[in-house]
Amino acid sequence: MIEVIYIRWLRQLKHYWRSKSRLIGSLGQPLLFMVAFGFGFGPMYTKASGGANYMDFLAPGIVSMSILFTAIFSGLEVIWDRQFGFLKETLVAPISRTEIMVGKTLGGATIAMIQGLIVLCLTYLLGFRVPGLESLALGLVFMLLIAIFFSGLGLAIASKMKDMQGFQLIMNFLIMPTFFLSGALFPLENLPPAIYFISRIDPLTYGVDGMRGALAGMSVFGVYSDFATLFTLSVLVCLIGAFLFSKVEA
């Protein structure tokens, strides 16, 4: 049981480590966002908020973003496994679907965590400072929750997709809105009701808010309620993912 999960996890880490271009390429986007938004909107934010530093606000959002993307993509990798035939090899083995799913989710979550930590280091270069070890520890908890949630979500989606054709759909109508309406880039106050509503049902909102509470001491809902919400959602998405994956045929 544990070994099957481990070998699934290891395989994914090897894939990640070996594609250096992907590793470096995926750092480009968060960096671009930090530079463009950080320096572009920074002065405006400072003026509007009466002296607050935008980088403190933005950095937890960008770290969340990089975790979101990495996690959901690694879940979607199952579609590639299907297209290249490797999924069959795993599905006819005398192991349970739950083992396969748990290994994959943990692998995706680990990679997303590593990616998030690298981005967190990059924010240091742009002037963001984590207040202390306690905040860092709490921040890591939220990073892990975001990673597990979206890795599980990616896998759940992948078990319903036959090929990469629906990828654009998922990208534009799920991943991008999840990111933009989560409050990663701007405060979720004084928004039109529709946008307000969407942002409240967006799981990443609670991840970003929790991260911000942990790393920068700014939180709308409170860290505990963020944690409870995200934890519940993660458990839920993993259960749904396990169910959907158990129905997958090779």
Partner: protein, 266 residues
């Protein structure tokens, strides 16, 4: 046990098209069994059901004494399979692919290295074990897939068109490996192929399927005698006709429905 594989009234329906119509047959332990048929005859659907990839609509499958539908894990541990399409992880090395397989088939940790080495030596890939699979040629990938299927010591090995698209040298060497496995280890081999000469040379028992039914089975001699022909190829053509079959079987509507079934399965 006399029969390693026993199939009873196996049926598979897709929507309102029946791909396999209640077939029954037995495969004797230690034999080489060739399962032949034109494209779209129900061959692939059958092998998918035998290897637990696809759920039958009705019927029974017994592998190594286990009910493949109710004791799925035990049945799965009893067979090895080389799929028609590649199923390797190309981003891993050959050795890593082997380890992955050994772990998911729960080969005891102490035995892993020996068994992997043994299997890779059989197909002559031990020296290339550290290469990435993406650097392998088509024939090497096939040999690696055969080696991989041996790691958990299966009682029966399913080979779905193992030599398709390979040059004559590679085909010859693959059949030699397969024959050795059968003779030296008594491993039962269940294979499908479109090369009648290969089936003729290697198989102890042959079954021919067409339109979802087994239309002839037995030893080569028996099939030749029954059809009054001199070779398996002639017998095959006599039994299944000379019309060229569509890859998906049947004509327009039939093809469309098979396609739907395939999509749902994939």
């Amino acid at each position: 046990m006399q029969n390693i594989l026993s199939v009873k009234s196996l049926t598979k329906k897709f929507e309102n098209f029946t791909a396999v119509k209640g077939i029954s047959f037995d495969v004797e332990t230690g034999s080489i069994f060739a399962f032949l048929g034109p494209n779209g005859a129900g061959k692939s659907t059958t092998i998918k059901m035998l290897t637990t990839v696809l759920k039958p609509t009705s019927g029974e499958i017994w592998i190594n004494g286990f009910n493949a539908l109710k004791e799925q894990d035990e049945a799965r541990a009893s067979f090895g399979i080389v799929f028609q399409d590649p199923s390797l992880d190309e981003e891993l090395t050959a050795y890593e692919n082997m380890v992955y397989h050994a772990v998911i088939y729960k080969v005891p940790r102490k035995e892993r290295e020996d068994r992997i080495r043994q299997a890779l030596e059989i197909v002559g890939l031990w020296d290339r074990r550290k290469d990435y699979v993406k650097k392998y040629s088509g024939g090497m990938k096939r040999r690696l897939e055969i080696a991989r299927a041996l790691v958990h010591y299966p009682k029966i090995l399913f080979l779905d068109e193992p030599t398709v698209g390979l040059d004559p040298q590679t085909r010859k060497s693959i059949w030699t490996h397969i024959k050795n496995l059968n003779e030296e280890r008594g491993m039962t081999i269940f294979l499908t192929t479109h090369y009648m000469d290969e089936a003729e040379e290697i198989a102890d028992e042959i079954a021919i399927i067409d339109h979802g039914k087994i239309i002839e089975s037995g030893t080569l001699e028996k099939i030749k005698a029954n059809t009054g022909t001199d070779s398996l190829e002639e017998a095959f053509l006599k039994l299944t006709g000379r019309d060229i079959r569509d890859e998906n079987g049947g004509g327009g509507k039939l093809k469309f429905m098979r396609g739907m079934g395939r999509r749902r399965r994939n």
